[in-house]
Symmetry: C2
Subunit: 433 residues, 2 copies
């Protein structure tokens, strides 16, 4: 360890950074014996193990021997910088107040899911700076962009990831290019533009090639994927580890029995897995929650990769209402998270996702449609014989505004007379006694 | 005190409630010597002091002698129920994770405002369950609706208040009627419908009369105003006190020198004032921050009431971009907060609000247009000779989606070739070297 640290220290950027990070190297996920210096971030996956068919991501190795285990004894979820020893180096000025999101018990939704006791929790990731989980990733990746003196940030996204990257780029004072696909939700497009990002819509299959051009021609730092199967930014999932750390603290220093995670490329799923794995490696916990990868059934590349024993696959771009997690490829991270946690990929139909979405709103959580994939999968599992011992958590990823184009009911307008008002209320199901 | 408590205890509702509340009575804001039992909440203002021209609100009196001062020594903003001794009785099942919002230092915005040092903070109220400050009020008022066995909740709102009331009504399992005005932002209307509320749009001047009909005919609990000048729900502003408590804790157990608060009817302004006043009464602090009421100049009823030495006035419904704080009347609460804190009403033009709004987004905070009234007022004050010693805080109230209809730029779509992409990026100001 000590030898690697010295080597990295020589190459570490000198810009203002949080100096508490214990990150020491990048490491191939395909073969953890293969390591690379911490800088620069490998945004094309692991060069030594990737093949033309399948590309393998890297993750970040930490000097776990020097982690202060007492950090996990905090009574409530702390500021995200509390976890900086286990994160890649952060730039303090980028702190928009990431994480520390509520974990709330939801007995009504437990009944809906069919849990025979009440211990179901929602991890409400809508409570982040841009109202989605992606802020955890972008805090880390935008820090990396600043620390490598990149002239800008580029991201392919038609949703939360792009908006979050645009916000952090704004906070960093860096230009940001968001490559969206034509046909992305109008609410999100305006969201992106408001942060001052440059936005171009291109045909969906051109997004990753255009990102690569911007990386190669302009030297921009890519914070989304560049490869055929998904590898993404090597540092990004480390940000999601904090969901595991917070959940452990918020459950009163316990791990859940199972966690249901809306899954697109599997970066959050892997980050949560790695967080719980580090808790175990540090001797703080002894058990790993079972992780359920909740994909829309119309695509479900991870479920198919697992079923076929493959490390990553491509699937047809079939339509689904869960656009934020509608991925045409999987990545190796998802395979590691599901296998390593004795979890499961649980594809779920659009119909079930929409039903869970409606149910969440009727309990006070009007979140993005894709956010309901976790609850929908849990319900599906229980209806098909699944049983859980101990607290179950589902992650909700983003707020309802992100998928607002789904609902275009016109506003019922009346003249204000009681006859007209009461007729309208009766039509909407209000009892008039 | 003891006598009053016994009297109230006899009348207190018996439903499941948080038993730690030290609320003992309702009290006229016009004449604090006039008290009423705690139940039922007076939603028509103070019956004894109100006149046909001006109605006076009530607030809630607490048994401050029994408050544990150590509760304010917490190291970081706690769960809102931590403050329940100083809140009206809450119903625990309604906890959607209200409050505990970040207080973030914003040096770039300090420069924009003209502060010659860096200590400017944003209190980011977008991080609430329905992404606005209104959740603090609705937690309290929906609890009151449940504790008085109301058959439903009714609210006049075309925005945050209605959405928040709808969410809490959903969590409470109560029907909710939202009376909006025709022409409210489409994003917000859909938001309301998603929680399962019944929504009727009526001409704007008919909103309060229609609410009254629903109260009188259906027995619904009103959580917005019924009177000519604003009184609102007597319990509501108590929820906003927690902004003061949290700010005190988050500043490292200090009070700010000044706080800039977007102001419509003045409920939040008064709640913050009352929170700091209780801190002082409890002997925890010795100073009161100066409170700045930030109204859109097009209306600014509070500024006019103060200038004319009146307790509340009505103004013309002139158009402003700050629709969430575009009030046609003021209320006596605002007068008390500004006078009691040696503060000021600082009306600010739409142009300045939009400029501050853009600036906030370019720093990573894409919030509702009205949210920028605080920063815009601060900048205006400094440009006109205002000076501050010690930390300054501005409150941002709600997320950018709420005023999304302001920006309808079409998405720039190109074919994905580098020639087309680079031309579009250049047009959007990206340097192509």
């Amino acid at each position: 360890m000590a030898e690697v640290r010295t080597q990295i220290a020589d190459e570490a950027p000198t810009r203002q950074q949080d100096t508490t990070s214990l990150a020491i190297a990048q490491r191939s996920l395909r073969d953890p014996a293969i390591t690379y210096p911490l800088w620069p971030p490998l945004t094309d996956g692991c060069p030594r193990t990737s093949t033309p068919e399948i590309q393998y991501p890297v993750d970040v190795a930490f000097d776990l021997d020097h982690v202060d285990r007492l950090a996990f004894g905090v009574p409530d979820a702390p500021d995200i910088r509390h976890w900086s020893p286990l994160l890649p180096p952060l730039v303090p000025k980028l702190d928009l107040g990431v994480g520390r999101t509520p974990l709330l018990e939801v007995p009504d939704l437990a009944k809906y899911a069919g849990l025979d006791r009440d211990e179901l929790y929602i991890k409400d990731e809508t409570r982040n700076p841009t109202w989605s989980h992606k802020d955890r990733l972008n805090l880390v990746t935008t820090s990396a962009a600043l620390l490598t003196d990149a002239p800008g940030i580029v991201v392919a996204s038609s949703g939360n990831h792009g908006a979050s990257a645009a916000a952090f780029a704004a906070a960093a004072g860096l230009p940001c290019v968001v490559v969206t696909s034509t046909g992305s939700p109008p609410a999100v497009t305006r969201f992106l533009l408001s942060y001052g990002a440059a936005v171009v819509g291109v045909p969906v299959e051109m997004r990753w090639p255009v990102v690569r051009q911007i990386v190669e021609r302009l030297g921009y730092h890519p914070v989304s994927n560049l490869t055929r199967t998904h590898t993404g930014h090597g540092f990004g999932p480390e940000g999601y580890k904090t969901i595991a750390f917070e959940t452990y603290v918020q459950l009163g220093h316990r791990v859940p029995s199972a966690m249901f995670v809306p899954t697109g490329y599997g970066e959050m799923l892997f980050g949560i897995y790695k967080g719980f794995d580090e808790l175990r490696e540090l001797g703080i916990t002894s058990v790993m929650p079972r992780l359920f990868a909740c994909e829309p059934a119309a695509r479900a590349p991870l479920a198919r990769a697992l079923a076929e024993g493959k490390d990553a696959i491509e699937v047809e771009r079939k339509h689904t209402v869960a656009d934020a997690i509608a991925s045409p490829v999987s990545g190796y991270r998802g395979v590691l998270a599901v296998r390593g946690s004795h979890g499961k990929a649980t594809p779920v139909s659009d119909e079930r996702i929409l039903d869970a979405h409606r149910q969440m709103a009727r309990s006070g959580f009007w979140h993005e449609v894709s956010s309901a994939a976790g609850l929908a999968s849990l319900r599906h599992e229980i209806q098909h014989g699944g049983a859980f011992e101990g607290p179950v958590v589902f992650v909700s990823t983003s707020c309802g505004f992100k998928s607002m184009d789904l609902d275009d009911r016109p506003l019922p307008a009346v003249d204000g007379s009681w006859a007209a008002v009461s007729a309208e209320l009766r039509a909407q199901g209000i009892a008039l006694t």
